[in-house]
């Protein structure tokens, strides 16, 4: 009885995204049980690696998941979203390639240096967005529209208009597989980033401060919280996520194309945050929700492709499913559902009482 009660009451933030994933899984199982078969194949470099649709989904959602984690924080603190993450990732990717191409050969050291440089660049642009939002109180979507518009031009300038390719086994390993490890490297990076977030929340008070600023800025200020700093910090953290995503994107292809790298990802990122049950108006948040949200989106896309839906139609079908998800997750439907549950429960309680008599 007790466990049942708990289950009924816990219509929490993660319910909808988890149900969405489960429905997609069941749907695919019925449609084509082989969808989930995971095999081990030899890739071009002769490594034994995992392959299959599921791996493609999890691997393909890596950049989205990483960006969604950062976006969750910005959303929570500022009550708005950063629409420049795709453009900023192109800048970070270009910066990454710039350093990689600066030497004759690419060593592990060069890659680390290049990554750190890309991080710094992305953090600076994050701080730029953050300053507009936190100091000048511009609406996040308007503030980041600037970088959204000009970001890919800046990326273009960094490498002098070329789309240089990078040839290095290290880069291939980052974008693909590390020899001897069958799991795609981007997936490992997602796990690492998630763990870092977890550690940051554990060892700092970022979570409660961010939520306070997002829910009630005025009260937060009177409790001594520097909300400008918290908002700025959220954008800088998102900057780090942007550079990680950008570097993964570059490594997958082995080249930087400032026009197409992570194109249109900003909207999917915001969507992932929303599907994860986070309030886009700021406040309480769950990073895990956004991560699941990212996988829901990717799973949906791959499912549609697997059903031979043409790539032009995919977006329309995606939209239909997403409308459903967002409506089901809306407070109105949730309240109705909870009421229904209460009714069912009290009905059952009455029956048992009658039975006892």
């Amino acid at each position: 009885m007790d466990t049942k009660k708990k289950f009924n009451l816990s219509l929490g933030q993660l319910t909808i995204p988890i149900i969405a994933i489960l429905i997609l899984v069941v749907f695919n199982l019925i449609r084509d049980p082989s969808f989930f078969s995971i095999g081990i194949t030899q890739n071009n470099d002769g490594n034994s690696v995992l392959s299959g649709n599921l791996i493609t989904v999890i691997n393909g959602a890596s950049e989205l998941a990483i960006l969604a984690m950062g976006m969750t924080l910005v959303t929570a603190a500022c009550g708005g979203q950063d629409i420049s993450v795709g453009a900023a990732a192109a800048i970070a990717g270009s910066a990454f390639v710039k350093i990689l191409k600066s030497g004759d050969s690419i060593s592990v050291g060069t890659v680390i240096l290049a990554f750190l440089f890309a991080c710094v660049v992305a953090m600076i642009f994050g701080a730029f967005n953050g300053t507009l939002v936190a100091v000048f109180k511009i609406q996040p979507m308007i503030a980041t529209l600037i970088l959204y518009t000009c970001g890919r031009s800046i990326a273009y300038w960094i490498n002098g208009g070329a789309t240089p390719t990078v040839q290095s086994s290290i880069i291939t390993a980052i974008g693909g597989f590390i020899p001897g490890i069958p799991v795609p490297t981007p997936v490992i990076i997602v796990v690492v980033v998630a763990i870092i977030f977890k550690l940051v929340f554990h060892f700092t008070s970022l979570e409660i401060l961010t939520q306070s600023v997002g829910i009630n800025g005025s009260a937060a200020r009177l409790n001594g919280i520097n909300s400008t700093f918290i908002k700025l910090l959220s954008f800088i953290i998102l900057g780090v996520c942007v550079s990680v995503a950008g570097c993964i994107g570059v490594s997958r292809l082995g080249l930087i194309n400032h026009e197409t790298l992570l194109i249109d990802i900003e909207m999917d990122t915001i969507l992932a945050v929303a599907i994860g049950g986070n309030n886009l108006g700021g406040g309480k948040f769950k990073i895990s929700g956004s991560i699941i949200g990212a996988y829901v989106i990717q799973m949906l896309t791959i499912t549609l492709y697997a059903m031979k839906v043409s790539s032009t139609d995919v977006k329309a079908y995606k939209a239909i499913v997403i409308i459903l998800l967002v409506v089901i997750g809306s407070p109105v439907v949730k309240a109705k559902f909870e009421k229904l549950m209460t009714k069912l429960r009290s009905g059952k309680a009455k029956e048992t009482v009658k039975g006892a008599e």
Partner: protein, 499 residues
């Protein structure tokens, strides 16, 4: 007698997760009657009102208007049935004009005719003697005026039942009298008024009948002349007043001998004119004055809540700079803000998170309070302050007003302040909690904490403070202590003129 009945509520039951908020409650309102609904926090007053206004749906029970059963599923239903409400917290749109606020949602044509509305609004406002105009943006009006606009809106909607939920908590005496006059006018027109308030005197001034609730149950309905104030309080809290009024001795003599803890000289902020102020260790003093006299602005300056323009501040005799709240907190100052909803609670966070917030901020970014530690803190203060909450993880926004206030008090007590500023800590909360807070203030002072106390109720300040700083028109106009601490003297000083 029977025809006079306007509204009946019978056997009302309402259940929230884990709480039975209303249990078989009856309520009757007659035509041309001002009916006070009384009870402590959590007694079920607000729930009953919200059922009547369609915010909540009752689980069981029956509501009739003029003998006809009605069902209310939304605020719109309530309005259509002639039930209008003015809530405790103002629920208008501050970014619209007064006129727009009065007519929003009830336009009679598809077009919004601003000129018409402004003209009609001006007429109504003038009739009611509310000193504002239709074109004024509501947010620019004082809280009191906003409240009166809300009432004007309800009045203009030709309601049969007017519900006033704590309408006077942000009004000064003059405005209260204005409102009472209006209430009596409406009563003469046959409107039934449900009046929810914590000010006992006001109940006796205007009400005809009193219904008392306690813990979600009906205690009884009484004609006002048959229920002396003492008995009313006893019925509300289930204890006798003698027991409650025994607050303990003020320690005025002792405090004067202690060292000065805080001293400000010509301190001024963007909101407060320069003023001098000091407080001794273990002293309880207070700022008094009418609404808008600058009392809140002055304490905000002490806490660094507004932009500081000048002045010198000494803590324990040493010069310090306090320009932001965090500076004040680091020097051991806590501040419970006047507007609980806007400046106090973080509504969606849990009771636990709200309690640890200030301490967490003081500890710093890299020293988070662990989960187990925060749970222990929360449990301790929930017990000490007797906070009524389903659990420590309940969002604080779902608690009743008085319990929210206790949570914020707990937040500051947890920082173990040397100096606590309480701005209207007892506003909109029930008698029992009020006394608890007053007792707590005196207890803190005994333990050596300095407290500055602000309250609209002079009587309450006289009971707790050993020194009163009186403000008028943003200036300090007097300081009262010892034998001068009596109602008459305070009134005289506030009013000004010849002593």
């Amino acid at each position: 007698m029977k025809e006079d009945v306007l509204l009946t509520m019978r056997h009302i039951e309402k259940r929230f997760p884990g709480v039975l908020a209303l249990n078989d409650v009856d309520f009757t309102l007659r035509k041309g009657e001002i009916h006070a609904l009384m009870g402590e926090n959590g007694a079920g007053k607000s729930t009953l009102i919200k059922i009547l206004t369609g915010v909540y749906q009752m689980d069981r029970g029956e509501v009739t208007i003029e003998g006809t059963p009605i069902s209310i599923h939304s605020p719109q239903d309530a309005q259509n049935n002639g039930i209008s409400t003015v809530y405790q917290e103002i629920t208008l749109c501050p970014n619209l004009t007064v006129a727009e606020n009065m007519f929003i949602g009830r336009e009679d044509s598809a077009w919004i005719r601003h000129k018409d509305y402004e003209k009609r609004a001006d007429e109504i406002l003038e009739k009611l003697g509310i000193p504002t105009r239709g074109v004024t943006q509501l947010g620019r009006c004082s809280l009191a005026i906003q409240q009166m606009v809300a009432i004007a809106r309800a009045v203009d909607m030709k309601c049969k039942v007017l519900i006033l939920d704590e309408p006077t908590s942000s009004l000064d005496d003059k405005e209260v009298n204005m409102l009472f006059k209006l209430m009596r006018d409406l009563k003469a027109q046959g409107v039934g008024i449900i009046f929810v308030t914590h000010f006992l005197e006001q109940v006796y001034e205007v009400s005809d009948r009193i219904t008392v609730l306690r813990n979600g149950e009906l205690v009884g309905e009484y004609p006002v002349e048959q229920l002396p104030q003492v008995e009313l309080v006893a019925k509300m809290i289930g204890k006798s007043l003698d027991e409650l009024s025994n607050l303990g001795e003020k320690n005025e003599k002792a405090a004067e001998k202690n060292d000065v803890f805080y001293e400000a000289e010509s301190l001024s902020s963007s909101q407060a004119l320069p003023f001098n102020f000091k407080i001794h260790k273990g002293e309880v003093n207070g700022f008094t004055g009418l609404l808008g006299s600058g009392r809140s602005e002055s304490v905000r300056a002490i806490f660094g809540a507004d932009k500081i323009n000048g002045g010198t501040v000494k803590i324990k005799g040493e010069n310090v700079k306090i320009t932001r709240p965090i500076d004040a907190m680091k020097h051991g100052i806590g501040y419970l803000a006047e507007d609980r909803k806007r400046d106090g609670i973080i509504a969606e966070l849990s009771v636990r998170e709200n309690i640890i917030l200030a301490l967490q901020v003081m500890n710093g970014f890299f020293k988070p309070i662990s989960r187990s530690e925060s749970e222990a803190f929360a449990d301790e203060y929930i017990k000490v302050l007797n906070i009524k909450t389903a659990s420590r993880e309940t969002p604080v926004g779902s608690l009743s007003g008085g319990n929210q206030q206790k949570v914020i008090l707990a937040r500051w007590l947890l920082t173990h302040p040397d100096y606590l500023i309480l701005d209207e800590p007892t506003r909109g909360i029930d008698v029992g909690t009020k006394l608890e807070i007053q007792k707590l203030v005196l207890k803190l002072a005994e333990d050596g904490v300095s407290v500055t106390f602000i309250s609209s109720e002079v009587e309450e300040m006289l009971r707790t403070c050993s020194r009163l700083i009186v403000m008028r028109d943003r200036h300090v106009v007097g300081e009262l202590k010892g034998d001068d601490l009596n109602q008459a003297q305070v009134m005289k000083t506030i009013a000004g003129g010849e002593a």
